[in-house]
Amino acid sequence: MPEQENVLEVKHLCQYFTTGRGRKRMTVKAVDDVSFTVRRAETFGLVGESGCGKTTTGRTIIRLYDPTSGEVRFCGREISGPMTPQTRRYLTDNIAMIFQDPIESLNPRMTIEEIIGEGLRTRGIKDKAEIHRRVLQMLAKVGMTEEHATRYPHEFSGGQRQRVGIARAMIVNPQLIIADEPVSALDVSIQAQVINLLNDLKAEMGLTILFIAHNLSVVKYFSDRIGVMYYGKMMEIARSEDLYAKPLHPYTRALLSAIPEPNPLTERKRRRIDYVPERDHDYSVEKPSMVEVEPEHFVYCSPSELAACKAMLRG
């Protein structure tokens, strides 16, 4: 496998939130020692259930939160350190975000043209004709027309709003897009439209995407590699084919077994696997760590579990 350029490197990222003071002080380890890399022009999927820290990871990378510890590098440059105006500028020029709820993430008092063009205006482009031209160009790219530009978000359906969200993220020509559950608020027939659009844009513009979602079938379909998170920790990272064909971590297996598939014959016989950390792991003696079991396939496990994983791959 040739060495590919890493666009994003996340190393031992921790994001803790604290509440209360004194004896009531509590720390929530939303993201706990998470490491992964995203290569150029690939889609990296982050999956997990609600509260597993996948959204927090995305938001910490784009510095909506200040990380507790750890390191995030974008094209080799550190972006997790102190926030200088230069770093912020570098960050916002190169990373854009698509949010889950298209109605809450669009300002209801701005027209579509203002929303999409805002990124250009904040970057100091004053030429209105230039902004107008690029907005129309972007609208065409996401499958909307010129007449949509003067309308307001409430005049659109969910799928169209999400297209606006995508156009807004893309207009600054970012190198990396963080898409946080971009299709989960949409109806299935509209979901397919948006997924196809993202796929087309990815192919056309060579985008790198960090795709955050809870729907494993969608993530599997859309991503090249997938990271599975559970309670703030990364459990397994693998190419999406491998993750599905040979899931190694018991949580990944439980997650895969829980997805109902549109096949009544297999569904009726489906046996689900439960994941109970206390039962499935004994970490009292050996401490677990992230290890590469086979090329491109990382699992969070202890030495004895590693041996078991390797045996499973051979068998």
């Binding site: 799928g159 109806d187 299935v188 397919a192 379909y221 829980a258 549109p262 096949n263 009544p264 014959l265």
Partner: protein, 348 residues
């Protein structure tokens, strides 16, 4: 108005519901008919706005004030539920027909202990002590550990999955024979969803319930349903057994629905349905799906298709099934997928 065949417990006939809105009447449900047989699960599947929730709200008599039942009937136990008064309906709602809502947080009263909410239905019939004993038994039955302590807690102290278990316990408290589940797992994580679905199947067996299950998730339909009704723009466009709908779909909308979701083996481009559902204040002439249908015939834009029977249990409302219609095959991607699903089932 007795039901002729003993097996059918609930019969919805030609039900039409509209909403008074600013621009006119929104035709949310337009002539829906289906039967629910004893001990079976009927799924109603469709996108938001297709009228699946409104149909069940009409059955339960809990439509909002601006809704009008324009026609049709809901036959249950010799009565037409659409014509019952509030008092008579109260005797059926909760006691004979239970309802599980989508969002367990808004279905529960946040300032009332869950035990109190479960026993609410029971206290008219029994004393406080018996009611509590029964509520605790129900909580155990729906898999809530440490029931005596949980009995005195408030909804916010429960996780999403546990809250939905409470809602199910409340629905079961009146000992109903029909359970209507309106997207019961949409707000939950997949692993929790799996447990709730298994729980619903388990109590269905134990209590010989008949279930109407509303969802937009085809995987969930495959897991739960004996028979499936596919709804679009207020109409059932295709109805059949789960096998018929998943392996021999006949309506272009069902084709599109099935091939627009990726499963774990999908690699090819997803088939998306262009456009959006029609505005039901002005229902389009002819077939409501025609404008988004790549297989639409000229007649689709002029006349609403009737139901064509494919088997005793399988019917679809599309002109493509008319003897004079051109022969149209389902899309390649779907045929491939069905072939793969059958192979998988043979292996399993």
């Amino acid at each position: 108005m007795a039901l002729h065949d003993n097996d059918t417990i609930l019969r919805v006939q030609d039900l039409s519901v509209s909403f008074r809105a600013y621009g006119g009447m929104v035709r949310a449900v337009r002539g829906v008919s289906f039967d629910l047989r004893r001990g079976e699960t009927v799924a109603i599947v469709g996108e938001s706005g297709s009228g699946k929730s409104v149909s069940t709200k009409a059955i339960m008599g809990i439509l909002p004030a601006n809704a009008v039942i324009e026609g049709g009937s809901v036959l249950y136990d010799g009565m037409d539920l659409t014509r019952l008064g509030e008092e008579e309906m109260n005797r059926i709602r909760g006691r004979r027909i239970g309802l599980v809502f989508q969002d367990p947080m808004s279905a529960l009263n946040p300032i009332m202990k869950v035990g109190h909410q479960i026993t609410e239905v029971l206290r008219k019939r029994m004393n406080k002590h018996d009611a509590k004993a029964r509520a605790l038994a129900l909580m155990e039955a729906v898999g809530i550990p440490d029931a005596p302590r949980r009995f005195n807690q408030y909804p916010f102290q429960f996780s999403g999955g546990m809250r939905q278990r409470i809602v199910i316990a409340i629905a079961l408290a009146g000992d109903p024979e029909i359970l209507i589940c309106d997207e019961p797992t949409t707000a939950l994580d997949v692993t929790v969803q799996a447990k709730i679905l298994d729980l619903i199947n388990q109590i269905k067996e134990e209590r010989h319930l008949s279930v109407i299950f509303i969802t937009h998730d085809l995987g969930v339909v495959a897991h739960m349903a004996d028979r499936v009704n596919v709804m679009y723009a207020g109409r059932i466009v295709e109805t059949g057994t789960a096998e018929e709908i998943f392996f021999e779909p006949a309506h272009p909308y069902t084709w599109a629905l099935l091939s627009s979701v990726p499963d774990l083996q999908t690699h090819e481009r997803l088939m998306s349905i262009p456009g959006t559902p029609p505005n039901m204040i002005y229902p389009p002439r002819g077939d409501a799906f025609a404008a988004r249908n790549q297989y639409a015939l000229r007649i689709d834009f002029e006349q609403e298709p009737p139901y064509f029977s494919l088997s005793d249990t399988h019917r679809a409302a599309t002109w493509l099934l008319h003897p004079k219609a051109p022969k149209v095959e389902m899309p390649e991607i779907l045929r491939e997928r069905i072939k793969r699903m059958k192979e998988e089932a043979a292996h399993a």
